[in-house]
Amino acid sequence: MRLAAIVFAATAAIACHKDAGPEGLRLRQLHDGLGSAGFKLDDFKKADASRFSAQNCEAGALGGLDAVVCEYGSTEAVALGKKAGEGWVAEATTGVALSNGHTLLLLADRHKADPNGQTIHKITKAYTALK
């Protein structure tokens, strides 16, 4: 029992360290990962990072959807940015605010470009699979 507790504590410590460490997904990897899934972010422009409490943000169009990607210094900061991101999505017919590692992905379908969510599904599937 005691051994199990020690093993659990050690595992938790490693997991937490990894979560907060520099290994989490970064914006560069996000670019590469979504690009290889067929969603290029080459035309994205710098966006106001302070609005999403981020270090860096870029905005553009992805598969006919409004998109923002941001990078954060910590996973705690990502959680804060996600709240702000949900506000950005708010009025869209459909929207997502997802985080992965040190990054945040925001998608908003404001013009019913993706009525069945097929494009959003593809993008989010590719994004959540990134490591």
Binding site: A92, T93, T94, G95, V96, A97, L98, T124, K125
Partner: protein, 283 residues
């Protein structure tokens, strides 16, 4: 007068607050039917997402905190994709640690395959859940069974035909298709599995859902006799359809002066399996 003004101001403020509340996005986890006022169809987003609309058929969702999780059979809602047959109640997934259940009695389908576990017994491509149910299931069951199965009553034709007997380890209730409803009207008879329509001023109604399968039956105009209020027959083409009435398939017969349209329902799926539902990812 002054009191009236105060009341008016309070009402206006309340309306403003309600208006703001309605504008809040509604959270969904997993794929689900799209509300009819948004055009209907099926939303395929698996990841947690938001819409500006609330679900049409709230009974088919289990709410976890402020998130809606669709637990039903997507067939009547324009879903196109893999289908896997189940029979009776079973767990669907867990969202934020809270188990989600499907309470559909009898045969139905889901877009995901039953997990390969001893808690499921698969016979003839139909998955029967033989594992234990927890307290959460027992707490929800009395109400959910009633409302969920009421929602699916108009969609008997969408159910798969299951021709295997449940395994002995399975302790659910065997589902029996609802009895035929007979309504009669002069000159026009519409027959479909479980539904017969006859009678003057006949209205065959069901709650509004996605459009059912349609069959356009072309009838030579002279052979159609129509009488009775509430029955519309536009000739030479006669369209027979409506929510809850499935008309179609092979064996369609058209006779005059009465018109008989017959077909069979039932939906088989032999799609490939694609794994268990992945609700709650990407958080």
């Amino acid at each position: 007068m002054r009191n009236l003004c105060v009341v008016a101001i309070v009402l206006a403020l309340e309306m403003a607050v309600v208006g703001r509340a309605e504008a809040r996005p509604v959270r969904f986890v997993g794929a689900h039917p799209i509300a009819a006022k948004q055009g209907g169809g099926y939303c395929y987003i698996e990841a947690p997402h938001m819409h500006i609309y609330a679900p049409d058929h709230a009974a088919l969702y289990q709410q976890v905190n402020d998130e809606y999780v669709f637990t039903g059979d997507p067939s009547p809602f324009g879903y196109e994709g893999e289908k896997h047959q189940f029979y009776g109640h079973h767990p669907v997934a867990s969202v934020n640690g809270e188990p989600i259940y499907c309470f559909i009695d009898g045969p139905h389908v889901h877009p995901f395959e039953a997990p390969a576990s001893p808690e499921y017994k698969v016979k003839g491509n139909v998955a029967f859940y033989i594992g234990p149910f927890d307290a959460g299931y027992n707490r929800l069951k009395p109400h959910r069974v009633k409302v969920v199965n009421a929602e699916y009553r108009p969609f008997v034709a969408f159910r798969p035909t299951v021709e295997v007997a449940p395994p002995p380890e399975w302790h659910g209730e065997v589902w029996v298709a609802p009895p035929a409803i007979a309504v009669q009207g002069p000159g026009v008879t519409v027959q479909a599995p479980g539904v017969v329509v006859q009678g003057p001023g006949v209205v065959v109604g069901a709650p509004h859902f996605a459009p059912p399968p349609r069959v356009n039956v072309v009838v030579p105009a002279p052979s159609v006799r129509v009488s009775g209020p509430g029955v519309y027959v536009g000739g030479p083409g006669v369209y027979v359809g409506g929510p809850g009435v499935y008309v179609g398939g092979p064996g369609v017969e058209v006779n005059g002066p009465g018109v008989v349209v017959g077909g069979h329902g039932g939906h088989h799926d032999n799609g490939k399996h694609n794994g268990w539902g992945k609700h709650g990812r990407g958080r």
